[in-house]
C-alpha cells in the first residue's frame, strides 16, 4: 500500500536515517528530481505558492477583466506601472510566473496520479491481506468467549457473509498459531472507492485545466450594440468587437440573426430607499437561424439566449436618441438613432454624432443625454439626470465643423470625436452656445450650417455573444471533482478481521479493525460487527 503514495505521505514508512546516498548518475539525478517533484511536500508547497501568487492580481486591475482600470492605473502611477507591467502583474493569471506555478503543480499531479492509479487497479484485484497474529493492539478490539469448541468454521463463514453483506471484500484463513492452536479467520477490506474517489478528484482537476485551456482556443466572444428595431447578424463584420480563440476559424460562425424588437426596463417606483433602482431588464427578440426559421425569444440578465451553439448575454443597455441633421442646403444628411453610453445609475449618457455627408462642411456633434433632466430650480444650472427612466429627455450638444477623418479608411472609434482638426461652432469655446434640445425640438445651427432635430428616443442593448464548445466539459469535470471529493473524503477505507481462536474450554472470537486514512467511525463499526456476529451465534454480550 505504501508505494501508492508519495514517499513522504504520512502513511508511508518513515525514511531510514543515516543511510549513505549512493552517488547518483544522470538518470539517478533525473529520478531523484522526479521523486522530489511528485512528493507531497512539493505539491503542498506549490499549492500554497499558487494561493500566494494569485494575490497581486486582486490588488491591481487586470487587463482581462478591467482594461479601463489598467489604463487609469497606468495614468495615475506611471512609475510603478512600468515595473508592474514588466512583471506582468496586469496580466497576473496569464503571466509566465503564475502559469509556471500551476503547470508545475499539474505536472506533479499527473506524476502522482499515474503510479497511484496503476497501484490502485492492482489492489482492486488483490484479495485482502493475511490476518495479523495479534489483533489485541488494533482498533476496536473486542473478544467474546463461547464455551463450545465445535463449528468455528460455520461461525467464521457467517462472519464472512455478514461482512460481505456490508460491502467488504473477504478472504478466509485457516492457520495454526505458535502455540499450536487452530486459528480460523476472515480478513475483510472495504472502501476501495475512497482511493477511487481521490483519483477521480485529482484526474478531474487535470480535466478542468485542460478543457479550460482548450476552450479558450476554440471559442470566440464578441460584443454588439443593437438599437431597438435593428438586427444583428452573426458574421465577423456584424460585431463591434470580436475576440477569436487561437484555433478559431470563420466557419464556426452560424450566420443567424437576432432582431431586437423591444427593450423594457422597470425601475422601482414605490420604495423610496431604492427609488429609480432597476428591477428588471427584458429584451424581446426575433431570431432567425438558417434552416430553422424565425422564432421569438427573450433575453434577461440571468437568462441568456441559447442560440445555435452560442449564447447571447444582456450585459448593458442605454438610450439611443434619434437625431436628424439637415445641412445648409436643407437636405437630410443624417437621421438615425445614436447609442449614447451611460455614465451613471441615472443614465446620464455621452455620445457622438458624425455627419460626413453634410454640406458645405462635415459636421461633428458631441454631447450629453439626460433621460430625466433635473429641473434648474432644484439642481442649479449644471445639468444632470435624476432618474433613469424617460421623464424629461434632454439633449445637449456641441457642434464642430471640419474634416472628420473618416475618408482615409482608417478605423475610428464611433464613440469618440477627435476634435484636434475641427472647429467648434457651437459650444463653450465658440461664439454661439451649445445646443439644448427637448424631445421633438429642432434647433438651427449658426452660420447657416443647417439644423438639428431631436426626433425620438430608442433604447439600445449591448449583447455579448459567446461560443465555447468545451464549456460543458468543464462543467462535467467540475462535477466529477465534487463527486470524487465526496467519495475520497467520506467513504471510510478500513480492514476488519474476525478470528476464531481455539481455547482449552471452547472458542474465543476476536474482532478488530484497521483504519486506512481518516476513519472516525472505525471503532463503532467493529463494535457493530461484533454485536451482530455474536448475536447470530447466540452468544450474549453482557455489558
Amino acid at each position: 500500500m505504501a508505494s501508492s503514495r508519495p514517499s513522504d505521505h504520512i502513511d508511508s514508512p518513515a525514511p531510514e536515517a543515516g543511510i549513505n546516498q549512493p552517488r547518483l548518475g544522470f538518470m539517478g539525478y533525473l529520478r531523484f528530481f522526479w521523486r522530489q517533484l511528485t512528493s507531497m511536500r512539493t505539491a503542498l508547497f506549490l499549492l500554497l505558492l499558487l494561493a500566494f501568487a494569485a494575490i497581486p492580481g486582486s490588488l491591481v486591475p487586470q487587463r482581462s477583466s478591467d482594461p479601463n482600470g489598467v489604463v487609469q492605473y497606468i495614468r495615475d502611477n506611471p512609475d510603478a506601472a512600468e515595473v508592474l507591467d514588466f512583471l506582468q502583474v496586469f496580466d497576473t493569471y496569464s503571466s509566465v510566473w503564475f502559469s509556471s506555478i500551476y503547470l508545475l503543480l499539474f505536472v506533479s499531479l499527473i506524476g502522482c496520479i499515474i503510479p497511484r492509479t496503476k497501484h490502485h487497479l492492482q489492489s482492486l484485484r488483490t484479495p485482502p491481506p493475511k490476518t495479523p497474529a495479534r489483533l489485541a493492539r488494533l482498533a476496536g478490539f473486542t473478544s467474546v468467549n463461547s464455551d463450545t469448541a465445535d463449528a468455528p468454521d460455520a461461525a467464521i463463514t457467517s462472519a464472512q457473509k455478514l461482512l460481505s453483506k456490508q460491502g467488504y471484500r473477504t478472504r478466509l484463513f485457516d492457520e495454526t498459531a505458535r502455540d499450536g492452536s487452530r486459528e480460523l479467520s476472515v480478513s475483510a477490506e472495504r472502501g476501495y472507492l475512497r482511493e477511487t474517489g481521490n483519483l477521480v478528484f485529482h484526474s478531474a482537476l487535470v480535466g478542468v485545466l485542460v478543457t479550460v485551456g482548450i476552450g479558450g482556443g476554440f471559442g470566440y466572444n464578441g460584443n454588439k450594440v443593437i438599437v431597438e428595431g435593428q438586427a444583428f447578424t452573426n458574421v465577423l463584420s456584424g460585431y463591434d468587437t470580436f475576440n477569436p480563440g487561437r484555433f478559431f476559424s470563420d466557419d464556426v460562425l452560424v450566420p443567424y440573426t437576432i432582431a431586437v424588437d423591444k427593450f423594457s426596463a422597470e425601475y422601482e417606483e414605490e420604495n423610496l430607499d431604492a427609488y429609480g433602482q432597476p428591477i428588471d431588464y427584458t429584451v424581446d427578440v426575433t431570431t432567425d437561424v438558417p434552416g430553422e426559421g424565425e422564432a421569438s425569444g427573450i433575453i434577461k440578465v440571468n437568462e441568456p439566449l441559447r442560440i445555435a451553439g452560442s449564447n447571447a448575454y444582456l450585459l448593458g443597455n442605454g438610450y439611443a436618441p434619434w437625431i436628424t441633421v439637415r445641412d445648409g442646403d436643407g437636405n437630410v444628411a443624417f437621421s438615425q438613432p445614436v447609442p449614447f453610453l451611460p455614465q451613471d445609475a441615472n443614465l446620464t449618457s455621452v455620445g457622438v454624432i458624425k455627419v460626413p455627408d453634410a454640406l458645405p462642411e462635415q459636421l461633428g456633434l458631441q454631447g450629453f443625454f439626460y433621460p430625466t433632466q433635473c429641473s434648474t430650480d432644484v439642481c442649479g444650472s449644471a445639468l444632470s439626470s435624476v432618474h433613469p427612466d424617460l421623464r424629461d429627455p434632454t439633449l445637449t450638444l456641441e457642434v464642430y465643423t471640419g474634416d472628420l477623418g473618416l475618408d482615409e479608411g482608417a478605423a475610428t472609434n464611433a464613440y469618440a470625436l477627435n476634435t484636434d482638426d475641427l472647429t467648434q461652432v457651437s459650444g463653450r469655446n465658440a461664439d454661439s452656445p451649445g445646443l439644448l434640445l427637448k424631445l421633438g425640438d429642432t434647433v438651427e445651427l449658426p452660420n447657416g450650417l443647417g439644423s438639428v432635430e431631436f426626433t425620438e428616443v430608442k433604447r439600445f442593448v449591448s449583447l455579448d455573444i459567446h461560443h465555447d464548445p468545451t464549456q460543458i466539459w468543464v462543467l462535467i469535470f467540475s462535477i466529477l471533482v465534487l463527486a470524487g471529493l465526496l467519495t475520497g473524503l467520506f467513504i471510510p477505507r478500513r480492514r476488519v478481521w474476525v478470528k476464531a481462536v481455539a481455547t482449552p474450554t471452547g472458542t474465543r472470537f476476536e474482532y478488530a479493525g484497521l483504519a486506512r486514512g481518516e476513519d472516525p467511525g472505525l471503532e463503532s463499526a467493529v463494535e457493530d460487527i461484533a454485536r451482530k456476529h455474536s448475536q447470530q451465534l447466540g452468544l450474549k454480550l453482557s455489558e
Binding site: 508511508s12 503542498l44 499549492l47 492580481g57 497576473t92 466572444n221 420604495n271 428588471d280 465534487l482 463494535e527
Partner: protein, 337 residues
C-alpha cells in the same frame, strides 16, 4: 408592513447581540473557573470516576472470564474507549458552561428570527447585501456550533464563537446596515439562494475548524507545563482530528460554492470564470484549504503547521468578506455600501 418587519428584525438582532455578549461573559467565566485551583479536585474526581467505570467494566470482564465455564453466556471485553464520542481530557461541563449554552441557544433563536424577519420584509432570501449576509453567515456559524455539540462537546469554543458573532453582528448592524431594497437584475437568480447559502455553511465549518486549531496551538505550545485551563480541554491531537473533520466538510461546501458561482457567472456575466477579485479570493481560499488537507497527509506537516494553515484559511475567508467586499473593485459589487 415592510417597515414594521424591518423594525422587528432589528430589535431581534440587537437583543440577540446582547444575549450573545452575555453568553460570551458566562463562557469566559466558565473558562476562568476551569483555571481556578478550586475546580481542580472536582474535575480530578470526575476524571477518576470516568477511569473508575472503565476499570470496573474490565473487572467485570475478567470476572466473567473466570466464570466462562458456567454456561453459554459470553462477555464482551472492550479494551478501547467508548468510541469516538469521548474526548480525551474532556470533562462534564460546569453549570456555568451549561448556562452559557442556554443563553447561546436563546440568542441564536432571536438571531435566526431576526434574520428570517428581514427576509420576510424584503420578500426574498435575507442575504442579498453585506448586512444581510452578515446576519445569515453568523447565524449559520452559531447553528453549526450548536449542531456539532450533538457530535462532540465543544463548549470550550463557546467564548470564541459567541464573542466573534457578537462583535461581527455589531459591526454589521452599525457599519453595513442598508435599507431593504429590491434585487438588481443580476442577483435575480436561484443561484443567489444556493451559492451564497452554501458559502455561509462552508464559512461556519471553517470558523469552528479555525477555533479548534487555535486551541490546538495553545495545547501543543504548552506541552511541558499545561495550565489548568488547558488541561480541561482535549489534547492537541484530538483537537487536530476534530478540526480536520470540520474543515473537510467546509471544504466540500466551498468547492460547491466555487462551482455554483461559476455556473451563475456564466449566466449573469457571460463567462464562468474571469478572475474577478471575488473569484480570485474564493480561489485563494480553496487553494489554502487544499493545502491544509495535503499538509495533514504530509510527513512533518501534521500538528502545528497544518493548524496554522487552517487559521490562515479562515482569516482569508474573513478578509474576503470584509476587506475585499468593501475596498476591492470588481463585478461582485453587491455589498450595498
Amino acid at each position: 408592513m415592510t417597515e414594521t418587519l424591518v423594525t422587528f428584525s432589528l430589535v431581534a438582532i440587537w437583543s440577540a447581540m446582547a444575549m450573545y455578549a452575555l453568553a460570551f461573559i458566562v463562557f469566559t467565566f466558565d473558562l476562568a473557573r476551569r483555571s481556578a485551583p478550586a475546580e481542580a479536585p472536582a474535575s480530578a474526581a470526575l476524571a477518576a470516576a470516568g477511569r473508575g467505570s472503565a476499570a470496573s467494566r474490565r473487572a467485570e470482564a475478567s470476572a466473567s472470564e473466570s466464570s466462562r465455564s458456567s454456561g453459554s453466556t459470553a462477555v464482551l471485553d472492550r479494551e478501547a474507549g467508548d468510541g469516538a464520542t469521548v474526548v480525551p481530557g474532556a470533562r462534564r461541563s460546569s453549570k456555568w458552561a451549561r448556562l452559557a449554552m442556554a443563553l447561546t441557544v436563546l440568542a441564536w433563536l432571536l438571531h435566526t428570527g431576526g434574520t428570517v424577519l428581514r427576509g420576510l420584509a424584503a420578500d426574498r432570501v435575507p442575504w442579498a447585501n453585506m448586512f444581510e449576509f452578515s446576519l445569515t453567515a453568523t447565524a449559520i456559524i452559531v447553528g453549526v456550533f450548536l449542531l456539532v455539540q450533538f457530535w462532540q462537546d465543544l463548549k470550550f469554543l463557546g467564548a470564541y464563537v459567541t464573542g466573534f458573532v457578537a462583535l461581527f453582528l455589531g459591526i454589521a448592524t452599525v457599519n453595513f446596515y442598508v435599507d431593504v431594497v429590491p434585487l438588481p437584475p443580476a442577483l435575480q437568480s436561484a443561484w443567489l439562494v444556493i451559492h451564497v447559502f452554501v458559502a455561509s455553511l462552508g464559512t461556519g465549518f471553517f470558523a469552528l475548524g479555525a477555533g479548534l486549531s487555535i486551541v490546538q496551538l495553545f495545547q501543543s505550545s504548552e506541552r511541558t507545563n499545561r495550565s489548568r485551563l488547558l488541561s480541561t480541554m482535549p489534547d492537541a491531537t484530538t483537537l487536530e482530528n476534530m478540526a480536520y473533520r470540520l474543515v473537510v466538510i467546509g471544504f466540500v461546501f466551498w468547492t460547491f460554492t466555487l462551482i455554483a458561482g461559476a455556473i451563475w457567472a456564466e449566466a449573469a456575466w457571460g463567462r464562468y470564470w474571469g478572475w474577478d477579485t471575488k473569484e480570485v479570493w474564493t480561489f485563494i481560499i480553496w487553494t489554502i484549504f487544499a493545502g491544509y488537507i495535503h499538509a495533514r497527509a504530509t510527513r512533518g506537516w501534521r500538528g502545528s503547521r497544518s493548524a496554522w494553515l487552517a487559521i490562515i484559511g479562515f482569516s482569508a475567508v474573513l478578509f474576503n468578506f470584509t476587506i475585499v467586499n468593501l475596498f476591492f473593485k470588481g463585478l461582485h459589487s453587491y455589498s450595498g455600501m
